[in-house]
C-alpha cells in the first residue's frame, strides 16, 4: 500500500547522498588540486622547484661537487630564441652560483613569456634553491628585443650523497594573450 512506503527515511537518504555527491565534487575541484600541490611541495615529487629562497646558512661543502645541467624548451609555437648561455656548471653544495639565459623576441609583436622550471631527479628538488630567477615573473619583451636573464641558485649542502647530477629544464610559454594566469581557485606560479 502507498502508505507503507517510508517517505521520510527516503527523503533523509536522498538528502544525505546528495550532500555526499556535492561534497565529492567540492573535494575534486577545491581540495584535490591543493592536496596535490602540497604533496608535490612537501616531497619534491614532480620536480617542481619552489619560489624565492632566503639564504640562511652560507656554509659550503667543498668535499663534493654536483653537476647542474640546463635545458630549455619552447612550448608550442613560442617564437623566441631561448637558450642557456652555459649548458652545465659544476658547483659545491652550499655555494651560490649565477648563470644567464638568453631570450630574444624574434617577432614584430610585443610579447610576454612565462618560464616554468622543472627538475630531475625528484629527490633533488627540495635541495635546489633559487635566490633569483627569471621564472619568478612573467617576462615581457618588445618586438625584436633581446635580454639576458639571471638565475642564481644554491644546491643545499644537505643534498643526499646519491645525487651527483641535477638537470634543470625551463619551458617557455607564450602568455601574451591569456587572461591573468594566476586565477581562481588554485592555479599558482612559482613565485
Amino acid at each position: 500500500m502507498e502508505k507503507d512506503i517510508p517517505k521520510n527515511s527516503i527523503k533523509k537518504t536522498l538528502l544525505k547522498l546528495s550532500i555526499g555527491a556535492v561534497g565529492m565534487f567540492v573535494f575534486a575541484v577545491f581540495l584535490m588540486p591543493p592536496l596535490y600541490y602540497a604533496l608535490c611541495d612537501l616531497t619534491g615529487i614532480g620536480g617542481k622547484t619552489s619560489g624565492r629562497y632566503e639564504v640562511q646558512d652560507t656554509t659550503v661543502d667543498t668535499s663534493r661537487t654536483i653537476k647542474v645541467q640546463f635545458l630549455t624548451v619552447n612550448n608550442g609555437s613560442m617564437p623566441w630564441d631561448f637558450s642557456p648561455k652555459v649548458t652545465e656548471v659544476t658547483v659545491h653544495p652550499g655555494e651560490p652560483k649565477a648563470v644567464t639565459f638568453y631570450a630574444k623576441n624574434r617577432t614584430s609583436k610585443d610579447m610576454v613569456a612565462q618560464a616554468v622550471p622543472n627538475l630531475t631527479p625528484f629527490n633533488a628538488t627540495k635541495y635546489f634553491h633559487k635566490t633569483e630567477c627569471f621564472c619568478f615573473n612573467q617576462q615581457p619583451l618588445s618586438a625584436w628585443s633581446e635580454i639576458d636573464m639571471p638565475l642564481v641558485f644554491i644546491v643545499d649542502k644537505d643534498i643526499p650523497k646519491t645525487v651527483n647530477t641535477i638537470t634543470l629544464s625551463y619551458t617557455l610559454f607564450d602568455v601574451t594573450d591569456s587572461l591573468s594566469s594566476a586565477k581562481f581557485p588554485v592555479a599558482r606560479l612559482n613565485r
Binding site: 527516503i10 536522498l14 555527491a21 584535490m32 616531497t43 608550442g76 610559454f173 591569456s178 594566476a182 586565477k183
Partner: protein, 517 residues
C-alpha cells in the same frame, strides 16, 4: 491505483514505473551499443590493412574517442541501470523505486546527452578526438571547438548516474520487504548497492575534472596548464581517481548477475554468500586506492610506483575468491546449459583471462612494455565485453521471459552465443599478440609486421558485430512471436522474489510487500 499503463507516447515520456523505465534504459543502451559498435566497425575496417583506406587519421581519432565514450557511458552503464530498475524492486519485494519521478528524469537526460555528443560528429572541427580518457593539454589547449559539448554531455550523463544511484540506495536501504535483512538480499541487489555508493563517490570527481577543463579552456584558469602554474599530471590523477572505481562500477553489477544465473542453472545455492558480499565490498574499497597504475609511465617517483603496484595486485585476491565461489556453486550441482548459462560460463572463463592480463599489467616494470599498447586494449575488452556485456546479455536471456511472458528460441539463443563467443575471441585474443609485438593503441595505421593479426582481429570484429544484430533479432522475434510462457518460475533452478510474481510481470507488483522468513 492498480490501473494499467497509459497509452501512446505519453506513457513513455511521463512514466514513473520502474519496469517501463527499466525497459527504456535497456532499449536505449542497446541502441547505443549498436552505435558504439558501428564506430568500432569503422575502426576495424580501417585497421584491416596497413595504410589509410577509408578514413583520415583525424577522423580515426574521433572514432576511437566516440567508441569509448558511447560504450562506457551510453551502453554498459545504462544497461546495468536498466537491469537495476527492472529487477531491484522485484527482488526486494518493493512496489517501485524510492523516487519514481527522479527515476524518469534520470533516464530522459540520457537520450538528450547522447544526441548532443553524437551531433558533434557533424559540427565544425569534428567530434572529440582526444580519447575517452581526454588527457590535458590535448583536450584543453589543443581541443576542437566541440569540446564544450563534450563537457556538457559528460555533466549530463554524470547527473543521470548520480541520481540513479541515489535512487537505488534509497530503494534498497528503505524499501526491502519485512524480514529481508541485508544479509538476506539477493547478490544482484548487493552488488548494485555497493556500486551505487561507488558512483556517488566518483561521478562528481569526473564532473570536477571536466569542470576544471571547462574553466581552463574558456575562463583562463590554469588547473592543467603548466604556463599558469598548473599541471597536466594533476588531470591524470583526478581522472583516474574517477576512472579506476569506474571500471569496478561497470563490473560489480555484472558479478551480481552471474551470481544469480550460475546457481539457477546449477540448481544449487550460491556458494559462500557472505564471502561474496565481503569480497564485493573489498573490491569496491580497494578500487579507490589503486588509480595510478594507469600512470606508471608518467614519471612517478619510485615509492609511488611500488605502492600502486602492490595495491593493484591485491585487488586480484577478492576477485579470485569470487571466481572460486562460482565454480564451487557449479560443483556437484545439476547443470544445464541454456543460453544464459552459456554466457555465464563464458563470463567466468573470459573475465578470468582478462583478470590474468590485469595481473600482468600490474607489474610496473613489465608495464613499461605494455602501457598504451594493444595489450591493454585486449585486457580491457576481455573484462568489459566478455565480462560486463556477456553478463548483461545473459541477464536479458534470463529475465526476458519474466519481462515479456514469451520464451526466446533456445536454438537461436545458442547460435547467437556461439557466433558472438567465436567473434569476440577472434577479435580480441590476437590483440594481446600485436600489443606485445609492439603496436601502440589509438593508432590509425601500423607497420607491416602487425598486418596479419590485425586482419584476423578485424574479421573477428565483423563476426562479433553480426552476432549483435542476431541478438537484436532474437529479442524482437521473442517479443513478437515467442512461445508464450506463464509459470512464475521460468527456470526450475531459479530463486528470488522475481520468480514468485506472475509471468509476464504485472505492471504493478508487490503493492503489498511479501513477508520474508
Amino acid at each position: 491505483m492498480a490501473h494499467g499503463p497509459a497509452k501512446g507516447i505519453g506513457r513513455w515520456l511521463f512514466t514513473t514505473n520502474h519496469k517501463d523505465i527499466g525497459t527504456m534504459y535497456l532499449w536505449f543502451s542497446f541502441a547505443m551499443f549498436l552505435l558504439g559498435g558501428s564506430f568500432a566497425m569503422i575502426i576495424r575496417a580501417e585497421l584491416f590493412q596497413p595504410g589509410m583506406q577509408i578514413i583520415r587519421p583525424e577522423f580515426f581519432n574521433q572514432m576511437t574517442t566516440m567508441h569509448g565514450l558511447v560504450m562506457v557511458f551510453g551502453a554498459i552503464m545504462p544497461a546495468f541501470v536498466g537491469l537495476a530498475n527492472w529487477m531491484i524492486p522485484l527482488q526486494i519485494g518493493a512496489p517501485d523505486m524510492a523516487l519514481p519521478r527522479m527515476n524518469n528524469l534520470s533516464f530522459w537526460i540520457l537520450p538528450f546527452a547522447f544526441a548532443l555528443l553524437t551531433a558533434t560528429l557533424f559540427m565544425e572541427g569534428g567530434a572529440p578526438n582526444f580519447g575517452w580518457t581526454f588527457y590535458a593539454p590535448l583536450s584543453t589547449t589543443y581541443a576542437p571547438p566541440t569540446v564544450n559539448y563534450f563537457i556538457f554531455g559528460v555533466h549530463l550523463m554524470g547527473a543521470s548516474s548520480i541520481m540513479g544511484s541515489i535512487n537505488i540506495i534509497a530503494t534498497v536501504l528503505n524499501m526491502r520487504a519485512p524480514g529481508m535483512t541485508l544479509m538476506k538480499m539477493p547478490m544482484f541487489v548487493w552488488t548494485w548497492l555497493i556500486t551505487a555508493f561507488l558512483l556517488i563517490a566518483v561521478m562528481p570527481v569526473l564532473a570536477g575534472a571536466v569542470t576544471m577543463m571547462l574553466m581552463d579552456i574558456n575562463f583562463g584558469t590554469s588547473f592543467f596548464n603548466a604556463a599558469g602554474g598548473g599541471d597536466p599530471v594533476l588531470f591524470q590523477h583526478v581522472f583516474w581517481f574517477f576512472g579506476h572505481p569506474e571500471v569496478y562500477i561497470i563490473i560489480l553489477p555484472a558479478f551480481g548477475v552471474i551470481s544469480h544465473i550460475i546457481p539457477a542453472f546449477s540448481r544449487k545455492p550460491l556458494f559462500g554468500y557472505s564471502s561474496m558480499v565481503y569480497a564485493t565490498a573489498s573490491i569496491a574499497f580497494l578500487s579507490f586506492i589503486v588509480w595510478a597504475h594507469h600512470m606508471f609511465l608518467v614519471g612517478m617517483p619510485i615509492g609511488g610506483e611500488l605502492y600502486f603496484m602492490y595495491a593493484t595486485m591485491l585487488i586480484a585476491v577478492p576477485t579470485a575468491a569470487k571466481v572460486f565461489n562460482w565454480i564451487s556453486t557449479m560443483f556437484r550441482g545439476s547443470l544445464s546449459f541454456e543460453t544464459p548459462m552459456l554466457y555465464a560460463v563464458a563470463f567466468v572463463i573470459l573475465f578470468t583471462i582478462g583478470g590474468f592480463t590485469g595481473i600482468m599489467l600490474a607489474v610496473a616494470p613489465a608495464d613499461i612494455q605494455y602501457h598504451d599498447t594493444y595489450f591493454v586494449v585486449a585486457h580491457f575488452h576481455y573484462v568489459m565485453v566478455a565480462g560486463a556485456i556477456f553478463s548483461s546479455t545473459a541477464a536479458v536471456y534470463y529475465w526476458l521471459p519474466k519481462w515479456t511472458g514469451k520464451m526466446y528460441n533456445e536454438t537461436m539463443g545458442k547460435v547467437q552465443f556461439w557466433i558472438g563467443f567465436i567473434g569476440f575471441n577472434v577479435t580480441f585474443f590476437p590483440q594481446h599478440f600485436i600489443g606485445l609485438a609492439g603496436m601502440p593503441r589509438r593508432y590509425s595505421d601500423y607497420a607491416l609486421q602487425f598486418s596479419d593479426w590485425n586482419m584476423v582481429s578485424s574479421i573477428g570484429a565483423f563476426i562479433y558485430g553480426t552476432a549483435q544484430l542476431l541478438f537484436l533479432y532474437n529479442v524482437i522475434s521473442t517479443i513478437r512471436s515467442g512461445k508464450p510462457v506463464s509459470e512464475p518460475k521460468t527456470w526450475d533452478g531459479a530463486e528470488g522474489l522475481e520468480w514468485m510474481v506472475a509471468t509476464p510481470a504485472p505492471y504493478h507488483t508487490f503493492a503489498t510487500p511479501p513477508v520474508i522468513k
